[in-house]
Symmetry: C2
Subunit: 398 residues, 2 copies
Amino acid sequence: MCHKIRLMSNYTNINANPYADDFPTLKVMLGKETPMRLDCGTEISNFPMAYQTYGTLNADKSNAILVTHALTGDQFAADTHPISGKSGWWSKMIGPGKAIDTNLYFVICSNVLGGCMGTVGPATINPETNQPWGVDFPIITIGDMVRAQALLLDELGIDSLFSVVGGSMGGMQALEWAAAYPERVFSCVPIATAAHHSAQNIAFYEVGRQAIMADPEWCGGRYLIEDKKPHAGLAVARMAAHITYMSEGALTQKFGRRLQDREEVTFGFEADFQIESYLRHQGISFVDRFDANSYLYVTRALDYFDLAASHGNGILAEAFRGTKVRFCVISFSSDWHYPPDESRVIVRGLTGAAANVSYVDVESDKGHDAFFFDEPNFVRVLDGFLRGAAVKRGLLDE
Amino acid sequence: MCHKIRLMSNYTNINANPYADDFPTLKVMLGKETPMRLDCGTEISNFPMAYQTYGTLNADKSNAILVTHALTGDQFAADTHPISGKSGWWSKMIGPGKAIDTNLYFVICSNVLGGCMGTVGPATINPETNQPWGVDFPIITIGDMVRAQALLLDELGIDSLFSVVGGSMGGMQALEWAAAYPERVFSCVPIATAAHHSAQNIAFYEVGRQAIMADPEWCGGRYLIEDKKPHAGLAVARMAAHITYMSEGALTQKFGRRLQDREEVTFGFEADFQIESYLRHQGISFVDRFDANSYLYVTRALDYFDLAASHGNGILAEAFRGTKVRFCVISFSSDWHYPPDESRVIVRGLTGAAANVSYVDVESDKGHDAFFFDEPNFVRVLDGFLRGAAVKRGLLDE
């Protein structure tokens, strides 16, 4: 015998509980007087939405930017994450003097419907049963996420957003905002995103869902009630998805075939290669902060997203017909999760509606995740577009 | 509640046993007098190798083609698979008058070392313990697979192969043959392959391995002894890998966002989309015919493959220095598993050794799996190259 086997992790030692609601965040109850009707037909009422804000709302409430988060993101866009202890996922972009300049704008970022950081989702207690919703939680869509965000703006007394800005699933929410509430959006920045999920996108998330559901600790979705966690399945789901967020070139450059803390391969199934070690770490650290059922629900919302179908009767341009929103569509050259071609489809749709649209494909080797990094050309474009729009909105002198 | 949950499959109903050895195939015992030393250092002796042949060996034994199979392939290249009942995986390519013409050539295809169709592997009974090897089976490499094939040829009394032809992992074996036994190979056709596994390749197979090892039915690798099968984990591994075998374009064309036997989405986690249904089927049907531990071992052999490192001291051209082998390197334009660039690396290495090499990148939308299909230009190239080489070898008149 010339090797050893070791499992990825002993998950049972992980104690962090992302559902404890014991971290500070802003929270409102929505749908109090009138229930909110979901696309699936179910109505939900009196449900929590968690959010964070940065900067100051001006007197006429015209400087609000809604930042919308990606699949595994949350409302902690620009401050320390209460579970991981890491900087907010867009700390590089949001702050005084940064592209999303908190000296100028009032930034709101809310946890999506179906999430697990304080907004209602499958891990939330269902008041009717006094137990977590689990898979009895209704299926939600990107449309539902945005509808709930609109209720949040109502609560905050904000009629109209100066801008809605988001990458990946956040970009889908930005597009949905422009299509569903064109009168409430002055400008819109969909980044590294698509107007619908492709077969390949659906396929990758289906693998992740099957990995979670195949984990016996998933317990048919009732794991919180059974005091279990499908950590192994969720970690595999995260690993599979994470590969699609990085470009092949970046993986080769960052890891190649380099070995992890060893001179030679061990002839075994340990993480001989740095890429294996990295991926395992991605999987293990993810389960600390994310709920497996939320992963099922939010990926399903992604799969169901089809803006042309939901707002344009099958024609994307129709979803934007007559829009006054100013668009800045941004893609990254090495993104193969939502490739630049998907952004070009959005631009074609917008152009077909004679919309005010700029498009930039940023040259980058960082793949889909490039929008998390401060790629200089990306930052410049975002900063420039927002400042230009701010002049038009009267927030800045020319 | 507006949806239902259903697991991918009730695996416990699957009775097919790929390890029963109760199907007809040719088999020899190898390493009888002298044990075979594996790259990991372990020696194995008196081990079975299963194979199939097609066509007739000529009198001077100069017309043998070794066809080498891919990760999930086996020796049933051109006859009905004994478990799935389907045609052999290369039935379109091997037969009278076909590109690999059995009127002209004697074709041998053997199950790889570590496989589960009769050649020794982790599911084989270890004579010392009278139990399946499981994860006590030594780690094997592409080099070991080829070394065992060379012993098979010794048994068959074949000194020299007219050609070694294979796609994907089969192409790696073809390259390994040319590097390790240049005097025993007249021509070599590596198809849709690479001279080493990239970080992205390793990453995808690592996800599959983690899915298998995370399945409690894997039992630390002892599932056959415990009378269990990690079917769910293996199915997820297959689904993740299968996505990489198809081009994004082909997925869009074949499935797009089309729904499976329904008019509208169900707002649930059933296979609403055709691509989901297709992938689940791929996963479920795979576990009938493949051993989970074999999947671990053979993917590990892929990860460890690095021809420049093992034969060229880090320089690919050195692995082929002075070779007289005639090479035909073939890639497919839409293959992103082993993209055309990987084939170009091989061609550069061969050219750097002044080898006799032709290279064709076949325009195809079928992705990595294109070599399983009868893409006309692919078939023409393979047929033409082999017939041209056959003239040079004196098997055919000019």
